[in-house]
């Protein structure tokens, strides 16, 4: 899935003028999304989902994001922290479990990998007011 296809999916949820404004090419570009990229990365998905929640659905941010610190790479991308935390804590995107040599594992957000569509429209609908 590409960022543009993902935007189209989100458009199916509706949102009218608010959506058009929040998801214009200019607005997405300003948010750091390369709309011509062939593949959607997980951080692209997180940014767009968060944008949808805030600017289209009017869902305010969760105030306490400390729970997202279980993602060991949460702070690797300093400008993405809140996007990742909000979509993770809302259950919109699942973490990636990364196995360690000792048999244990850690949770990562893995921002740069391609999104494996760990979200669904139903999940987004589920958090709508």
């Amino acid at each position: 899935m590409s960022p543009r296809e993902f935007t189209d999916k989100l458009a199916e949820l509706g949102g009218g003028k608010a959506f058009e404004k929040a998801f214009s090419d200019e607005a997405l570009k300003a948010a750091g999304i390369d709309m011509d990229a062939p593949r959607l990365t997980r951080i692209d998905a997180a940014i767009m989902l968060h944008k949808y929640m805030l600017e289209v659905a009017g869902i305010p941010d969760l105030e306490d994001i400390s729970g997202a610190a279980v993602l060991k790479d949460l702070y690797d991308c300093r400008k993405c922290v809140n996007h990742i935390a909000q979509v993770y804590l809302r259950g919109l995107m699942k973490p990636v479990s990364y196995p360690l040599p000792d048999g244990s594992s850690i949770l990562l957000f893995d921002a740069k990998s391609e999104d494996m569509s760990s979200w669904t429209n139903q999940q987004i609908c589920g958090i709508m007011p």
């Binding site: 200019e26 570009k29 300003a30 948010a31 750091g32 999304i33 805030l54 305010p60 941010d61 105030e63 994001i65 400390s66 610190a69 949460l74 702070y75 690797d76 991308c77 300093r78 400008k79 922290v81 809140n82 935390a85």
Partner: protein, 600 residues
Amino acid sequence: MGIEVSTGRPAVIRDDKYRFDSFKNGKVFEGKKQGRLPAMGWNSWNAFGSGNTAALTRAMADKFVELGLDKLGYEYIVLDDGCYRQERVDGELANGEVKFPEGFRTLADYIHGKGLKFGMYNDIGTNLCAGAAVGTCGHELTDARSYISWGVDFIKVDNCYYLWDNATFSNAENAQYTYAPNIKSIEVEGNGLAIKLSAKCGELRGAGAEIKDDYVTNIGTFDGTGPQASPVGDMSAELVFKIEAPADGEYGLQIRYAAGKEAGAGSWLQIAAGPEGDTKIFYDDMVPAGDGPTEFISSKPFNISLKKGKNIIRLMNHRRQENTLCSYAALLEAFNEVDKDHGILLSICEWGKTQPQNWGYKVGDSWRILNDITFQVGGDGNPGRGEWASDYTPGVAVQYNKAVIMDEFAGLDKGWNDPDMLMIGMNGLDMTQCGTHFAMWCMMNSPLMLGLDLRRVNKGDEIYNIIANEDLIALNQDALGIQAKRVYSTLAKEAPDKEYIRDNERADILAKPLADGSVAVSFINLSDHEWTQKLDVSIDTILKFIGDRMKDKDSFAAAASYKIRDLVSKDEKVLDAKEISVSGIPAFGNVTYRISPVKA
């Protein structure tokens, strides 16, 4: 000839002034202004994130003046990330068409027209943190021309997408530039000498490196972005071998190494050799890659010169600090080239990653000490959110805990530690916390960059009364220019001014010498409950810690009494004793006094 920075490879360093060995010489680079007090102003980031616009900025400038902040010392209006077009236009920076349609010169003129100063933002990498591909790397001169033509007075320069470090958004494998390879042994030959030394025969100097099995790893500068490590002391390591040379001359040095591309095991090696205290650099580049950080191979012989008698061979990689310094220096030098009399204030924002407290003074006016104080920035209609403490860098106390022991790095001749912008007025912090936040930043000579939507402030309201407290601002802007020192902490074991304490279940006492011979003393309760025990500090203790930096230590010591002014309540009293005490500080609260000697 200045430093040349490009996207092709790390800078070639031809002048030792950019090297680690010059960090402690106290010399600043041409164009770096000394004698400046901490910057005061407003920055768009905490208030609006990358959603700032020209209209919002104009509104902030209007409100800035309406509130009289300019009369209190605040002067800069700074556009943070999100103001440029996403790509360069004909190789030059350009204003975002939707958010800043009028262009930056027009906006600067508007701000200057109000008697204020105009600041902007960029990055030493290829892209800005919010993504725009307009970083200064390789464009320093072009960008300096733009900024000067726009009338910029202040530039905050970030560190995302940096090519030579594993910075935010950068390739993690860039760690290859910031650490030396793992080293197992060396061989030195020449002039009748033939010696092989295992890494275990070497001496680990500095901090961070360690012997693992039979090799040394972690030769480099450790990352200061997070709050884990103390900022005081050595930040990097070297593997040093002592060699007795039979004669002056050339020697061959062969190194058995394993190169990698990860933190702790990199591929960039610096070799210095010569008598202790007078070593010269003989190699400063990548080494050929092998099969990974545990597969050891032998290098080609490196030529080094030794003097007859005792020498040392230093194997190291200080490039994490040197590269970053070079990148900031390239921008400063570009400004110098465009206008040698420019007075642009350079705010270094590499988040403490490369320990800028060691080198930032050479090029910059302040340097961030950690990653961001909040990741929950606001927007138009959303105040954003700050917090008192966290396990990472967000939080007033987190930033304070590091900055409070960094006074040795700050000063009028250097610049200022920057624990990030103020969060006063954001959600998540009550007014007691905001008041203590402000008092801390004033005591620590931190830049005072407001980070809220000023339209939410009115003269006389709670937020205004905090940010407009002239008595506290006077501490921050005191002409003596000395950051407060922590003279006592309930959790300090031996040295309250040096110990890195992250447990907030404590109270601290700070003391700061002032130009008129008085001393500011702040009692700070970092905990989430009232501090019921009495906290006291003697005049002797204050003198012991800051006496050498006071204007008139003897008069202060000999005073028969002291006038004590509470800088928040404005109450005044006379102290006839040699001990100052406070009790019952509320949770997250502070009591800050100005203590002036009364002549006998």
